[in-house]
């Protein structure tokens, strides 16, 4: 029999972008410790809806920890108090009866609040569109595994490619820097033969877009790596730096629009 708990929530409520928001206190009663954090919010929202009020708006999709849609800064930490997990995979057993939980949206100029706890993360999409792609020739379907790739390189590229683009790195960083995200996206292509065609244009274009979106500058605190739900490593950031400086200092090229 799982335990039941009663909690006090302080939730950021904001009607729309550019409006003033404030914290509103809610009671979450009879919460099972087997619930996920989002299920707990669902229970609270049902109560709010029954009262005829506007439910708490928050992002979620797969609830399996793989889509990168859920967010929330919970008691000062993105995706809550556990390391290596998303909010949907966070369970209420990580909290205790009577606890007060402060829930805030990602805070960054580049991630404006849309409503309550949901932020606009299309800045990440625009960074991806600036260079996070590979060109392929049309024609017949190439045989799988025709290009030999050393296992260690493939593994490293896969590690970088696990980034789900949730934005926890930005939320955790004291400077709201997007370096971990951008470095993961640049790395996965820079490592593989398929990504060589646009390699140096990509690093420049994605860094330019990152700066244009208004993200902060990396100060290597390592907060992003610690809070990343899928364990993207700081070595990616060093690789992005290498890619960018190599491009700028030794292989300056124009960027396609």
């Amino acid at each position: 029999m799982s335990g039941q708990m009663n909690l006090t929530l302080k939730v950021w409520r904001q009607k729309k972008e550019n409006q003033k928001g404030q914290f509103v206190t809610y009671k979450a009663n009879n919460i099972s410790d087997d619930m996920s954090f989002l299920e707990m919010l669902d229970v609270v929202n049902e109560e709010i809806t029954r009262k005829g009020e506007d439910p708490i708006y928050f992002d979620h999709d797969c609830r399996e920890g793989i889509c990168g849609m859920c967010s929330l800064v919970i008691n000062g930490r993105p995706h809550g108090p556990k390391y290596g997990t998303t909010t949907c995979q966070l369970h209420m057993r990580s909290f205790h009866d009577g606890q007060t939980i402060v829930i805030e949206p990602w805070r960054a100029a580049a991630f404006p609040v849309l409503k309550d706890l949901a932020v606009d993360r299309t800045a990440f999409d625009r960074i991806q569109q600036a260079g996070g792609y590979v060109n392929v020739n049309t024609g017949g379907v190439p045989d799988a595994n025709t290009i030999p790739i050393p296992k260690r390189i493939a593994d490293e590229a896969f590690e970088s490619a696990t980034c789900i683009g949730c934005g926890a790195c930005v939320a955790a960083c004291k400077n709201a820097s997007a370096m971990l995200f951008v470095s993961a996206k640049v790395s996965q292509f820079a490592l593989l033969p398929q990504g060589q065609t646009e390699r140096y244009e990509r690093a420049q274009a994605m860094v330019d877009q990152m700066d244009a979106e208004g993200f902060g500058n990396c100060t290597n605190t390592g907060a992003c790596e610690a809070e990343c739900p899928v364990g993207i490593k700081l070595t990616n950031i060093a690789r992005l730096n290498r890619e960018y400086f190599t491009a700028k200092l030794f292989r300056q090229e124009d960027i396609h629009n």
Binding site: N75, R77, R107, D208, N217, T221, N241
Partner: protein
């Protein structure tokens, strides 16, 4: 078609400047410490005062010293620019921000530590550099017996001193010099300055424990085989040995001399 932004207007380019000036300042610390160890020699400042003359009059050293002043200014100015951008990147602060669970205190407070160091550098240069260059230090004459190596000294009045002069006559080497050693001794009788110097060395230690390895990360050097030795040097050489070596100087003159 659009061109990528110039390197020095990008976040990564500015961080490269921080990294390179920072590492240059680190290399200076090593030389500065080794040279200043002559303060501990029991020769009434003979070695130290000759060294001070050499360091201020040897042309290549003068060139490097101007590079050094420029590096300090550039490092501070770029830090200010980057910090302002970082503040802008998060216009709405978190109600709760649990930084200690994902990053080290010193890595998040490099600006505060750097400001302490800037105040220290200004005071330090006024104490010694300014006074030495503006004839506000005492004068001394050493007589060294070249056969026995014994050194005797007497203070010179301003009227007896014209310029740094070494003459050898009859097995006696006579040196007239500005007595920066005496100035050091005099300065470190002031308990307030001794405290400032020691506190500043704590700030230096924490600044460099993060800064040294951070500089390598920024230039893109984060290699599994070498990162251990870089972290080791950052912590034990720049974070412990060098600050202790410098802090020993005011403490030595205040408590022992």
């Amino acid at each position: 078609m659009s061109k990528s932004k110039p390197i020095l207007t990008s976040s990564l380019g500015r961080k490269l400047v921080m990294s390179l000036t920072g590492l240059f300042l680190c290399s200076f610390l090593v030389i500065h410490l080794i040279g200043n160890f002559q303060l501990f020699a029991n020769d009434e400042g003979y070695a130290f005062n000759n060294y001070a003359y050499f360091m201020t009059h040897f042309a290549p050293i003068k060139v490097v010293s101007y590079l050094l002043y420029a590096s300090i200014v550039i490092h501070a100015v770029y830090a200010l620019i980057l910090t302002i951008q970082n503040k802008k990147a998060r216009p709405v602060q978190y109600n709760q921000y649990d930084g200690k669970s994902n990053s080290a205190w010193n890595s998040r407070n490099m600006g505060i530590l750097g400001t302490v160091l800037l105040v220290f550098i200004a005071t330090h240069m006024q104490n010694f550099w300014w006074k030495y260059h503006n004839d506000q230090v005492p004068y001394i004459e050493y007589t060294k017996d070249l056969n026995t190596g014994t050194i005797t000294s007497r203070e010179l009045s301003a009227s007896e001193f014209t310029d740094y002069l070494v003459t050898t006559d009859n097995g006696q080497e006579v040196t007239k010099a500005r007595d920066l050693y005496k100035q050091v001794d005099f300065t470190f009788q002031n308990v307030g300055l001794v405290i400032l110097y020691v506190v500043a060395m704590f700030a230096l230690a924490f600044h460099l424990i993060h800064g040294f390895q951070s500089a390598f990360q920024t230039v893109g050097f984060n290699h599994r085989r070498y990162i251990g030795i870089i972290r080791f040097i950052g912590v034990w050489v720049f974070g412990v040995l060098i600050p202790i070596g410098f802090a020993a100087m005011p403490l030595y003159f205040y408590f022992i001399k």
